[in-house]
């Protein structure tokens, strides 16, 4: 277990929980969440970053050891996502980018086609591209071809805390896609993150469930542990599930008698 390293974008991480910076009552709690959760990768919306501000810049609260994952929140098209990614890089936020292309503000569901277009452009420019998408095999395959570093399917719509509603589709992605599968969005309870990890997801990204908890740091710790527990369960190779009871005296046992 000690050698279970999460490899992403050419780097190695011990934690498989990615966290976020949105929706907190106070950004000053972010370092506590990072520490309690053990998370080493954190996403931040470029549109909230204000490097000119003397105070209140979210970047000031992100611990230095964290891998920064700027996101393209606010982008409605591939073109806007590409611009935001380039701006983030120019602002010194590094070359990792989480692509979010959302042109439906009612449901905040990601646009797979535009996401794939942005991924292709940015991957060619040397970005480590982590695209947030619906749990769809065809989109995932197109992202592999486009040069994504991982695929980030949603568990449920952003911010809903509804859990792993896309379970069966995520399972297909885990089985079929070679890239790391990071379940992003919708996970509301540590048990749901644990379940995703048990299924074989490579990591989970959790923001709303932690940020809107009464005690974000404590919830962060719970998620950190749940993700780890789920991973350990996956690695341990859980016994197969059966839909029928296994008779202790099998009906065909007589075939092997004598």
């Amino acid at each position: 277990m000690n050698n279970d390293i999460f490899k992403l974008g050419g780097l190695e991480f011990e934690s498989r929980l990615l966290t976020g910076t949105g929706k907190y009552a106070d950004d000053s709690v972010i370092p506590d969440v990072c520490e309690a959760s053990g998370s080493q990768i954190i996403t931040v919306a470029l549109r909230r970053v204000d490097l000119e501000s003397d105070t209140g810049n979210v970047m000031d609260f992100i611990p230095k050891h964290m891998q920064l994952l700027p996101n393209t929140s606010g982008a409605r098209t591939a073109e806007e996502a590409v611009r935001i990614a380039r701006l983030a890089k120019a602002m010194g936020c590094g070359n990792w980018i989480k692509i979010e292309v959302i042109s439906d503000n009612k449901y905040l569901l990601p646009d797979g086609y535009e996401t794939a277009k942005a991924t292709e452009i940015l991957a060619k420019e040397g970005f480590v591209v982590l695209p947030y998408v619906n749990a769809d095999l065809y989109i995932a395959r197109s992202l592999v071809d486009a040069g994504a570093a991982a695929v980030m399917p949603l568990g449920a719509p952003i911010g809903t805390n509804r859990g792993l509603k896309t379970r069966e589709m995520v399972r297909i992605l885990i089985d079929e896609i070679e890239l790391p599968i990071i379940v992003d969005a919708g996970i509301g309870r540590p048990s749901e993150a644990c379940e995703a990890m048990e299924m074989g997801a490579d990591a989970c990204l959790v923001n709303t469930a932690i940020a809107t908890a009464s005690d974000p740091a404590l919830m962060g710790r719970a998620f950190g542990r749940a993700v780890k527990a789920g991973r350990e369960a996956y690695l341990s190779g859980p016994g197969a599930k059966h839909s029928h009871a296994k008779a202790s005296s099998p009906l065909t046992g007589f075939l092997h008698e004598g």
Binding site: S53, K89, D104
Partner: protein
């Protein structure tokens, strides 16, 4: 297709009867649904929903926390001019009112922008009176050029424009627009707007849609609550917001809930008294009907009230407000505002208050998309 025929149906409908016939059962059913119909929204706005305000508050609060977290975006208005060609009977800028009229030139704008930017605010809403000859689209474009040096997000609350004009302003760097229909009541509207370009009900009604078509990122609508029966205008505002949200899903649709305030000039008696309870019911119903809709509360409201409604659905608040032209830099005795504000707290004070209530004041929530050089 525009919102006009839909709105006309509501204007022709016996709304008083419809609100009166809502039952407790209708309210409960609406409260238990995840996706509400316009009829459900009407039920939550009805007198029958008043006994359910606490339940509505719990649901609205949970939805707001889920979708927006514990954050409140702050912005402030900048009055660039108060020349006006309208005779809106409830407005301090009414052309009949003998008030000092002025317009900020480039240097004054720069000074005003610097003064506001020094407070840390990054979202600016610029306002002019409705006087095209004075505050032409070109004037606004050149102002935006100056202001964008200080503010990543500049929105407009000005006279109704054509789609092409909105497109030009977007090109110049405007990313949001606010347009108050004032009242959706087509029969009452001309009485309240007897002369001037604002007299054209339909041109104003369709302005938010023209802005959506032009590619505006955020479109904020609203009625001036009190001009007509508040329930009627609240219903039509919500239906209008839903129409825009469904037809232009890429646009962030927001609603402001301003109550009419006293102003300089002739006394005007609002048709409907909008109590605190009424405003809260309006906000709760709107949040439950449109969970992802932005809701703006201005400094028209009193400090205590603004603080108490924080968890109920608010996502944006104005702060450090002056409704005078150049009000952030001019002398106190020169000030003549559009209306009287109730919450005169500074940006720092507002931030302190928000933090005390467990909310993060968000100064910057948008980044312009120019290519990196």
């Amino acid at each position: 297709m525009s919102f006009y025929p839909i709105c006309a149906e509501y204007n022709d409908a016996p709304l008083a009867e419809q609100f009166g016939s809502v039952t407790e059962h209708d309210v409960r059913r609406a409260l238990n649904k995840t996706t509400l119909s316009p009829e459900d929204f009407l039920a939550l706005l009805s007198p029958a929903a008043v006994p359910f305000l606490e339940e509505m508050a719990a649901k609205a609060s949970q939805l707001t926390l889920q979708h927006f977290g514990r954050t409140i975006q702050l912005f402030t208005p900048l009055y660039m001019a108060n020349f006006c060609t309208n005779k809106c009977v409830y407005c301090g800028f009414n052309t009949k009112n003998k008030i000092p009229r002025s317009q900020l030139g480039p240097e004054e704008l720069e000074k005003e922008a610097e003064a506001i930017a020094a407070t840390g605010l990054k979202h600016l809403l610029i306002l002019t009176g409705d006087a095209r000859a004075k505050s032409s689209p070109e004037y606004i474009e050149s102002a935006v050029e100056i202001l964008r040096k200080h503010f990543p997000s500049v929105s407009i609350e000005i006279y109704a424009m054509t789609e092409e004009e909105y497109a030009r302003l977007i090109e110049a760097g405007v990313d949001g627009m606010t347009m108050f229909q004032e009242t959706y009541n087509e029969e009452l509207y001309p009485e309240l707007h007897p002369a001037g370009p604002k007299h054209d009900y339909r041109f104003r009604l369709d302005a938010p849609e023209r802005a959506c078509k032009a590619g505006m990122r955020v479109v904020n609508i609203g009625a001036l609550l009190g001009l007509d029966d508040w329930r009627h205008d609240a219903l039509k505002t919500g239906i209008h917001a839903a129409y825009l949200q469904n037809k232009y899903p890429e646009v962030d649709i927001a609603v402001s809930l301003p109550r009419i305030r006293t102003h300089v000039g002739d006394a005007f008696t609002p048709k409907s008294l909008v109590s605190d309870t009424a405003l809260v019911q309006n906000m709760l119903a709107l949040r439950i009907f449109l969970p992802r809709c932005g809701i703006t509360i201005s400094t028209r409201e009193a400090p205590d009230f603004r603080e108490n409604i924080l968890p109920l659905g608010v996502t944006r608040m104005s702060a450090g407000v002056s409704t005078e032209v150049g009000g952030h830099t001019c002398e106190e005795e020169e000030k003549v505002g559009q209306f009287d504000i109730s919450d005169e707290r500074s940006v720092d004070e507002m931030c302190e208050v928000l933090r005390k209530h467990g909310y993060q004041p968000v100064f910057k929530d948008w980044h312009p998309l120019q290519e990196a050089s």
